[in-house]
């Protein structure tokens, strides 16, 4: 790990938490996180091409192995969507599939050795690189805000402007407490995307940090710490695989649940 430069654990971790950024305008807002954008876009393209190629070659006879796997994933997601949402799922089904696979693949970058990609890219002069896009609060909030916009869109579509406004102002306590109702509904509305984004971000960020700590232990130079670090890295890696799957699953299910809730009439 930190073999050539005598770097402390703290510096090692701070170094790994730095983004590859490009300034495209004045102020902190216009700082592009190139690593996050690149990795997430690469995965978006890979997933699209993967599913598209199998959808094109799909046969109704004996499916190939790849086709069977894709069918397995699609049917799993479709079953989950049908469990919570009874209606026209022409948009929601593909949306759930996209969210699930995309989050899953981005999370899977977490199981790569923590130093592998930054070290490889440092040969080309890239100083900072964070490989896990979902360990980045910007990515998770971008996704959860998209879901948020969709829930509002679906609310308006299912209930109409008047119906939705009526629900917002009269829902929990009746028409006489309209300001309180509005406040409660606003809090509920805002808490959904925030919790959705924070949950995924917190899980992936914590996973990355623990990996960094263990990598620091491996590179600390003592044999005991090396052994402990390797065992810990292995154990946490296996646990992290479970977390990665569960978090991708939860992100998908909760997105579908929020959109389904927006369509329900009370």
């Amino acid at each position: 790990m930190s073999t050539e430069a005598p770097m402390g654990l703290s510096e090692y971790i701070t170094h790994h938490l730095g983004n590859l950024t490009v300034q495209v305008g004045p102020g902190g807002f216009w700082t592009l996180q190139v690593d996050t954008l690149a990795v997430s876009l690469i995965f978006a393209v890979i997933i699209s091409l993967w599913l598209w190629s199998f959808a094109r070659r799909a046969s109704s006879g004996v499916p190939s192995r790849g086709q069977a796997f894709v069918e397995l994933v699609v049917e799993f997601v479709d079953g989950q969507v049908k469990d919570v949402f009874h209606g026209d799922s022409r948009l929601l089904g593909p949306l759930a599939l996209t969210v699930f696979l995309w989050v899953l693949f981005m999370n899977l970058m977490d199981v790569l050795p923590i130093d592998a990609i930054p070290r490889a890219l440092s040969l080309f002069g890239v100083e900072h690189f964070r490989a896990v896009p979902t360990a980045e609060i910007t990515t998770t909030f971008a996704m959860s805000l998209t879901i948020f916009v969709l829930t509002i869109f679906y609310s308006f579509r299912a209930k109409g402007f008047g119906g939705y406004m009526k629900e917002v102002f009269t829902e929990p306590f009746g028409p006489w407490l309209a300001p309180l109702n509005l406040l409660m509904n606003l809090i509920e509305m805002v808490s959904k995307p925030v919790s959705l984004a924070m949950r995924l971000f917190g899980n992936m960020y914590a996973g990355e940090l623990v990996f960094m700590l263990l990598a620091g232990m491996i590179g600390a130079g003592s044999a005991v710490l090396f052994g402990l670090g390797v065992v810990g890295y292995l154990a946490w890696g296996i646990f992290e695989l479970l977390i990665i799957l569960i978090q991708a699953f939860i992100f998908m299910v909760l997105s579908v649940v929020y959109i389904a809730m927006a369509q329900q009439h009370h």
Binding site: L9, S10, I13, T14, L17, Q80, M198, R199, F201, G202, N203, Y205, A206, G207, L209, V210, L213, I243, I246, Q247, F249, I250, V253
Partner: protein
């Protein structure tokens, strides 16, 4: 110089206590929640074994939900332990 060191030491001490509390109490809550949910799941599965697949997927969903708040507090605790933004304020105030 002496007071600056004391100040930094003070902040580090309080941060360490805070991070420890965050991680420890978070783990405590998550463990209790997970235990209650697991026992209920086993009870329900024992009573109605045919519901097991449905309950299992719901259980894993809840595992993630319970785990999430603990892991968020773990992440923020570790973040404060390793790159303390509060310490940065003292360093900039001291001009270094």
């Amino acid at each position: 110089m002496e007071t600056l060191q004391q100040l930094i030491g003070n902040i580090q001490a309080f941060t360490a206590i805070g991070a420890g509390l965050m991680v420890g109490l978070g783990a405590l809550g998550a463990c209790i929640g997970m235990g209650v949910m697991g026992s209920k799941f086993l009870e329900a599965a024992g009573r109605q074994p045919e519901l097991m697949p449905v309950l299992q997927s719901r259980m894993f969903l809840l595992v993630g939900l319970i785990d999430a708040s603990f892991l968020i507090s773990l992440a923020i605790g570790l973040f404060f332990a390793f790159s303390n933004p509060l310490l940065q304020a003292v360093r900039t105030a001291a001009g270094g």
